[in-house]
Structures are given as structure tokens and as C-alpha cells.
Amino acid sequence: MSDKEEIVRNLSSHYSSQVMRAFGNVDPASKALEVIAKSLKEIYRYFEPSFFSGDFFVCKNLNDNLCYDESKGTLLYDKNILLNRTDGLMIIQVFNDSSKMIIWEDQDPNELMGQKNTLAYHFKNNKECFYANELSIDLTIHDKGSRFATQFNDLIEVLQQYSKSKIQKSSCEHFSNSWADSHRLFFRGGGSGSNIPEKYMQLSLYEYLNSVFRGISMESSREYNLMGDSSRPKPVDIKIHWREANRTALVEIKYIGTVKKDSDGDIYTLDNPRANFGITQLKEYHDKASTDTPTTIIKSHLIVIDGRRNNLTADKTTINVIDGMYYKNEEVIIDADKRYHETILGFEKLIRMFAEPICS
């Protein structure tokens, strides 16, 4: 049964099986795996691995013998000292007693990798792996961060899901209100500055996140809008706080496409400049948030809802497939001086969500 052989091979290559084999299939090995995984989940509530440029180790000795000299390390009572670490060397040993952790910051990690009865986790440069009995087992599954720090990675996944399930075919009740026509060629526009489509897009995303994303609380700029305090600028569209982790995400929504005004049926088009304006705005929010709450880990996402169509004139009511899907894979062009996602830590590359029209 080569099917079965394949399955067995796949299962044997999973990191958990590799760890077990490296230590001879003993119980303390799986306990070590469990303890390290749970500790990582806890520790990563305090700092964000994708912001960390140093070497981070978490280790467990199978018999709970000390990996290094105890006097050279510190008992970790308050994990808040890990807040906002961005570089350096950290080696944390965990034990069967989950309340005990010892941290060393100046010991030689190579010693660790040579210890025979120690399972060690290593994170560096957005790559993570286990060292088990001189065997190195790769764990990396995300481009950035760690698989044990799910907060930001989950957010990206949720946003991608949102794009696929709600924006692509406009299958959201709120989002569908942003269109002026039933074929989704034009966005709705009231008088200038009333930003009707954005209002619905925000509501759509807010409600989606609320129902699908766990462990967060959100603030949305709608609430602020009504305060009418003109001395204060508009805040970011959606601010996401993680309740059990020291993280915040800022989400700003911009749309590009053609708007048809309610009042007189005139049209105007928003394109790359609008998106770039969004980037500028978002950077301001990001900077401000970073200074307001310097210990919080902040990431900013710009969402660009792309409803651009080709060859669109004010009188059109239908569109063919070629013109309708013209921009489906057309990336937004980011100005050279706005490439903050390459320079500012936590400022993410914009996410473009293409909203398809109904083509005839």
C-alpha cells in the first residue's frame, strides 16, 4: 500500500516525530516539547519575534537539570522585562514547573546546542528551529514572526479570508452598499468629502473582524467622527487591541476606482495617488501611536479596496469581462519615497483587495 507508506513517511517527517526520534522516543522528550510550546505562547505575548533581530532561545533539559550556571542567570518573575525586546541574546530555560523560568543573556549558545539531553528552540531572523540531540529541525512556516506568536499572522490570514469571502464578490451586506449600480462599476459618492463607500467598507471590515477574530477589542473611527472636534484629526479607521498580548494593529481603508456622484451623476476616478495618500496618512498614525504608547508592539496595515475598471464612462451600465477584470492582478504602484514597508519596522506592505464587477 504505497498510499499508506506515503502517509507514514509524511507523519514521520513532522517535527514532533523528529524530536521524539532524536531522543529515543522517551516520555520526557514529548513533555519537553509540550512545555516549550506552551512557554513560547506565553512569552510571545510580551514581545514580537518579527521585531526581534537578535538570538532568542528557549530550552528544556529532559531531566530538568540546569543548562547553564544558575548564578549567571536570573529567575524570571515578571515577564514584563521582556516587553519590546528588539535585539540581543536571550536564553530562557523552562521546567516542568510552569511557573519557573530562568533567563541568561550572556552565555554561549553553542554550549546549548551541544547538550545531549536538552531540547532547544531557536529564533533568529524570522527563522525558527529545534535543536534535539545535535539534530536541527526546521519549524518555520511563516515569512515573518513565529508560528507560536499567532497574533499578527492570524490577522493577515483573516484579512486574506476577508478579501476572498467578502470583497471579491461583494458578498457582504454592508460592502454592497458602497456601489452605485448593480453591476458594481461605480462606487457611490455623495457630495464631496462625505466618503460614503469608505463608511460601509469600514463597517463591513469591523463586523467581519468582530465575528471572526478572537481575543481582540477594536475602536473604529466612526465613533470619533461624531465628536466633531475639528482640532483633532481623524483617527485611523480601525484600531485593534489584543486583550491578552501586548499588540496593537492599525488598519486604514482606502478605495480606488471610479466614483459616481449621487447628486449629479458625474464621475471621478481615484487611483494610485489615493493609495499613496493612504500610505502617508497611515504612517502618521503609526508614528503617533508609536510615540503615544512606546511599549506596545504596533503594526500598521493599509487596505486598498480596488474597484478599478477599464474604459469606464459615465453612461456605461454594463461591462465586458476584459474591461471588468482588467485590474484584477494589477498591483498598486507605490511611490519611491513611500516605501515605508521596507524601512519602518511594523509598517506592513499594503494589502490590495480586488472587488470584481458583474460582467456580461
Binding site: E223, L226, M227, G228
Partner: protein, 659 residues
């Protein structure tokens, strides 16, 4: 298992010198071409429709089933029914024609044709056997009878037929043809007969054909050991009684009482079997109720979650008031914009006041009844609320029933244990016999003999029980295999059955295999209750659900282009008129969608059934034959003829309507 049998397609049936069918003093030679799809033979009662059907089955198998007898296992059918078969045609064929009377059948299996001629009084012989296939117009002969003896021809026919269809042996074919594929006036149900359905399942759901044989064999042997053991135990008890009588230990037990005791013993045993069956059934029903309870609970849970969701949407703060900038500010700053009071309670107070009927500032009644969205929500909430209360009362009723059923179950368990005890007590009476000499040499010798008998019988009884128990593991293993392969087949078989049964009864059904110590049977759940005994359904329902099961089996087993032929005799006999057109639909589906065949006889009363069947099938798929040509009608039948004509005309029209 699935789709691997090539069932028989009847092509032609000829009856020669069959005196039952006599028109105008002359014997009518029946010569029917049987079509694919539905072949329906209609006629008034007493014309001989059932005989025709039985004759065909006789031609195919050499057997006519004796009515009112149980369903036999494949190996026993012939022995149990041969005598009846030999007598069946005596009254139907003139003595003079006995020798000449014969039936000729042309049938097709896959691409092979079988042509046989069997005399009505030669059930183990064939007068002619021809096997051939066709290549365009050319006939390619595979076998043609020449010098073989009639018995040899019959043997060869049986072997070839079974092998062509795919059955392990001809006995299985007889079983399926007579019990599963034929539904005759005896209305023998296989569904509700544990042994019958167990056999049918074993044959149908065995990936290894030998397994079916083994199961049947083991059943037989285990039952034999059990009955041997019972007899031996009885013998040992008898011997003991005799000893006691001789030693005057027991008072007043005389020889005549032994017979009485034997009767009591058998009665106790029958009683035990009955109670075991009842207990088993109650257990199944109880289990089904628990499942239903689970289901209801889950549905109620869902509805309650929905309820909460609707409510929170409904009771969201009134937008007009909340969107007011000042109100917003106040809530945010925890500071009243009017009087400047501040504090953590401010926000709560404001929110509370916003929810009241009147504007907190000017006291105007806020009428939101015009709000369309709120109305919609309210409607949904009301509907959901009804749903919840309906399901809750359903649950209450069910819990009440469950409690009752549990009491029933406990009671049955007690009765079962009692019955078991009684049987054990009766057969396990004092095992030690004290051998006290009476002083009388002759009597003592006799006692000695009886003691030996007793010891021997007791030991042999134990041996027989052991033998039975030794067979159990293998038996259970085989049954488990059947159960497993049924589970594999479930995804195909169950939906077919549910669909057919639903098209008749109009309700949702579930069907499960249930394995007990002795057998595996199919259990039906109707309308989320469990009906294990057929008496809980009306006769029509039993009838047609049994047919639905057979049809599903046939569909499941038959290879794609070689559908089985169900033989159904006068189905409308016990049919409520309401069900007639539903049945017509079910039959039509069987013959059209599932591409199987139906050979049915019908009384002219079944007009509604025949009409809906004709409408759905049309000329392409249905042939409607009247028996009027075959015999002389009686006076009464003659009188009714114009009525018949009208019905026939309607049916012809219906047939022609559909192309």
C-alpha cells in the same frame, strides 16, 4: 458486492398445454414477450395471475413456495418446499396433459441467452437447454442439449445460471429469486424477519462469497448444537427424575408427569426466546429515542444562539439618539453635556435613558414602530421563539417517553433475567444424586443404569454448549465483516433506500444495521421514532417498506445495465387508496430512473396505481397486458367488463401520452 450481479432479464414465456388457461373449450397457449421496464398483467380475481407468476418462478428454479411457511435459509428451501411443488400443478393441469404441459422461458443475462423448457412435474429436470449469444443477427451457440439426461441438463443449467449472474451457487439464486425479488400473495416480509434479512444481508454484503455460506453454515450448526444440548439436558433431567422416583425421594412424580414436565420445559424455553426478542427491540427503540433527544437538544441550542443574536441586534441603541454628537461626547467623557456632572455612572445612566420610550430631553414618544428593520427583526424573533417553544415541548414529550421507555426496558430486563433463571433452575436442579441403595438388587441396578445415563447426558449437554460456544468467535467475526462491508456500502445503499421509501411514505427514514448476539438485521427508524416491530406500522406501510428495501438491495447489487426483475403479485390487495399513486410513483422510479424491471400482476381495482405508473413510464417503458384473452370470464366478470374496458382505455391513453 456493489454492482456486481448480472440479473436475469426475462424475454419470453410460453406455456404449453397448461389447462388452467382455457378459452372457448380450447387450451390457450400463453406466449408473452416480456419487455424491459414494467410488464403488467391485469385481470379480475381468480383468473390465474398468481399461477402465472408462480409458473415462471417454477420454470426458473424448479420450486413453488408453500404459503404460510417461514423463510428458509438457501440450503433448506428445496427440501422444505419440494413436496408442495410436486402437488401445486396437479389442480391446475389436466391429468391428460400432465406429460405434455411445459413452460418455456427465454431469458437474457448480460449478453448470454438461456432457453429452457421444464415440465411441470419434473422439477429437477429440464427438457431442453440452450445457451447462446448474438452477434448482430448471428447466433453463437455455447450449449445445446443433445444426448444429456434431463437431470444433467438441469444441473448444468443451475451451475451456468448461478455463475453468469454472479451467485456463489444456485441455492443463493433460489433464495434471492423467490424471497427477495418476488413479493407474492403471502406477503412474506424479509425486513421484519430476523433470519430472512440476516440471510439476505449476508449474501448481499459479503465481499467474499464464501463468507455468506460460512455464516449460514455456522448459524445452522450453532442452532443444532443448542437444540442438541437442550435435548440432552432434558434427557439428563428425565434420568434424574426416574432415579428419584425409584428411590422414592420425590413424592407423587409419575411417568405421565414426565411428559408434562417436558412440555413445561419447552414452554419455558419458547418464552425465553420471546422475551429476548422483545428486550432486544425495546433496547433499540430506547437507543433511538436517546439519539432523537440529542438531536433535539442540538437544534434547541442552535435556535437559542440565534435568539440571542437577534435580540442583541434588535436592542442596539436607537441610532437617532446615540448618533447625536453631544450624547456621544458625554458617554465618551463620562460627563453630562447639559449639567456637567461627571462620574463613571454617567455613561450607564445616559445609555439607559436612551433606551426608554421617550426622548430624555423633551419627553416626546419615540415611535420606532415604523422602522422596517426593527419590524423584520421582531418578526424573526417571534418566529424563532415559536420554534424554540415548539421544540421544547417536543423535547418534554420525548423525555417523558424516554423515561417511560427506560422503565419498560428495566422491566423487560427483569423479566428476561427471570425467564433465564427459570430455565436454568429447571434444568439445573440438584446435580448431585445420592446413590443410596434401596436394598432391592433389581432396582439398584436400574438406578445404576439411570445414573450412568444421567452423567453421560449431562456431560454431553455441556459438550454441545461448548461446541456452540467455540463456533461463536468465528461467527461473530463473520458477522462483523458483514457489518463492516455494509458500512462501506452505506453511502450508496442508504440514500437509495431512503429515497425510495420517502417517495412512498413521504417521510424521512433512517436505516441502520444492528448486530445482536445471534444475527445482524436492519432496523428502521420512522419519523424520528424507532419502529422495530412491524405491527407498529399499518399493513400497507410494512408492505411497501419491505418492497422498498428489496428494491434498494436489487439496485445496489445489480450491474449497471443488468437490472433485476422484481416480481410483484397483486400489490394493491392491502393498499389504502391514498397511497396508490405514491406507489405508482415508486414503481415508476424503480423502472425508469434506476433502470430495473418490474413484472407485476394487478387487479383492476388498482386503477390509480396503474394510471400513475402508466403516466410516468409511457409506452417505452411499460407494457400492459389483459388476461381477457387467456380464459373465459365468469358471469360476474362479464358483467364488470364494461367497467374494465373503461379503466383499460384510460391506462392506454396514459401510456400513449408520454413519449
Amino acid at each position: 458486492m456493489q454492482g456486481r450481479y448480472y440479473f436475469i432479464k426475462l424475454q419470453k414465456v410460453i406455456l404449453r398445454n397448461f389447462s388452467l388457461y382455457k378459452k372457448n373449450e380450447k387450451v390457450y397457449e400463453v406466449n408473452e414477450d416480456i419487455n424491459e421496464g414494467v410488464y403488467c398483467l391485469a385481470g379480475a380475481n381468480g383468473l390465474g395471475k398468481t399461477t402465472f407468476l408462480n409458473s415462471i418462478n417454477y420454470g426458473l428454479t424448479g420450486i413453488v413456495l408453500e404459503p404460510n411457511k417461514e423463510v428458509y435459509s438457501p440450503g433448506e428451501i428445496i427440501t422444505a418446499n419440494k413436496r408442495y411443488t410436486e402437488r401445486y400443478f396437479l389442480g391446475r393441469i389436466n391429468k391428460k396433459e400432465e406429460e405434455k404441459a411445459e413452460i418455456e422461458i427465454l431469458l437474457k443475462i448480460n449478453e448470454k441467452y438461456f432457453r429452457i423448457i421444464r415440465g411441470f412435474f419434473e422439477r429437477e429436470e429440464l427438457r431442453l437447454l440452450e445457451i447462446f449469444s448474438k452477434n448482430g443477427d448471428k447466433r453463437i451457440s455455447h450449449f445445446k442439449s443433445k444426448n444429456e439426461s434431463p437431470k444433467e441438463l438441469n444441473n448444468y443449467y443451475q451451475k451456468s445460471l448461478a455463475s453468469e449472474i454472479g451467485f456463489a451457487n444456485f441455492d443463493y439464486f433460489i433464495f434471492y429469486q423467490l424471497y427477495v425479488l418476488t413479493f407474492d400473495e403471502n406477503r412474506r416480509m424479509i425486513f421484519w424477519d430476523d433470519r430472512a434479512s440476516s440471510h439476505a444481508l449476508a449474501i448481499a454484503f459479503n465481499t467474499d462469497p464464501d463468507d455468506a455460506e460460512k455464516i449460514l453454515d455456522l448459524t445452522r450448526r450453532m442452532e443444532k448444537h443448542e437444540s442438541n444440548a437442550r435435548n440432552l439436558k432434558w434427557q439428563s433431567t428425565q434420568a434424574k427424575k426416574k432415579i428419584e422416583e425409584l428411590t422414592l425421594k420425590t413424592k407423587g412424580k409419575k411417568a405421565s408427569e414426565f411428559e408434562e414436565l417436558e412440555n413445561i420445559f419447552n414452554k419455558l424455553h419458547k418464552e425465553l426466546e420471546k422475551i429476548e426478542k422483545i428486550y432486544g427491540n425495546i433496547k433499540i427503540e430506547y437507543d433511538t429515542m436517546l439519539k432523537r433527544q440529542s438531536h433535539l437538544n442540538s437544534e434547541i441550542m442552535q435556535s437559542k444562539i440565534e435568539h440571542t443574536r437577534l435580540f442583541s441586534r434588535y436592542s442596539k441603541p436607537r441610532s437617532k439618539l446615540l448618533e447625536n454628537i453631544n450624547v456621544q461626547l458625554s458617554i465618551k467623557k463620562q460627563e453630562c453635556c447639559l449639567c456637567d456632572s461627571s462620574g463613571s455612572h454617567i455613561a450607564d445612566s445616559i445609555v439607559r435613558n436612551i433606551h426608554k420610550d421617550k426622548c430624555p430631553l423633551c419627553n416626546t414618544v419615540i415611535n420606532e414602530s415604523g422602522n422596517a428593520e426593527q419590524n423584520e427583526l421582531l418578526k424573526l424573533i417571534k418566529k424563532n421563539d415559536e420554534k424554540i417553544s415548539f421544540k421544547n415541548s417536543e423535547l418534554d414529550n420525548l423525555i417523558f417517553e424516554v423515561d417511560g421507555k427506560k422503565v419498560e426496558l428495566d422491566k423487560a430486563e427483569i423479566e428476561l433475567n427471570n425467564a433465564r433463571e427459570k430455565v436454568e433452575d429447571f434444568t439445573e436442579e440438584n446435580p448431585d444424586i445420592s446413590f443410596k441403595g434401596t436394598g432391592d438388587k433389581n432396582i439398584d441396578t436400574l438406578i445404576e443404569q439411570y445414573k450412568r445415563q444421567y452423567d453421560l447426558a449431562a456431560k454431553e449437554a455441556k459438550d454441545e454448549y461448548n461446541k456452540r460456544d467455540n463456533l461463536k468467535p468465528e461467527y461473530e467475526k463473520l458477522l462483523k465483516r458483514v457489518e463492516l462491508s455494509y458500512k462501506e456500502a452505506e453511502t450508496v445503499f442508504v440514500p437509495t433506500f431512503k429515497k425510495l421509501a420517502k417517495s412512498f411514505i413521504g417521510l424521512d427514514l433512517n436505516i441502520h444495521p444492528k448486530r445482536s448476539d445471534k444475527t445482524i438485521k436492519l432496523v428502521l427508524e420512522l419519523q424520528d421514532t424507532a419502529r422495530t416491530e412491524s405491527f407498529q406500522l399499518s399493513e400497507s406501510q410494512r408492505f411497501f417498506l419491505d418492497i422498498a428495501l428489496r428494491m434498494s438491495l436489487a439496485i445496489f447489487l445489480s450491474e449497471n445495465k443488468n437490472g433485476a426483475t422484481m416480481m410483484i403479485d397483486t400489490p394493491e390487495g392491502s393498499l389504502d387508496i391514498a397511497y396508490e399513486s405514491r406507489v405508482g410513483n415508486m414503481f415508476a422510479e424503480y423502472a425508469t430512473v434506476y433502470k430495473q424491471n418490474l413484472f407485476m400482476t394487478a387487479n383492476i381495482n388498482a386503477s390509480q396505481l396503474l394510471l400513475s405508473l402508466a403516466e410516468k413510464c409511457g409506452n417505452n417503458r411499460m407494457k400492459f397486458r389483459r388476461m381477457l384473452d387467456w380464459t373465459d370470464p365468469s358471469e360476474i366478470q362479464k358483467e364488470g367488463e364494461h367497467l374494465f374496458k373503461k379503466v383499460f382505455a384510460n391506462i392506454e391513453t396514459a401510456l400513449n401520452k408520454r413519449k
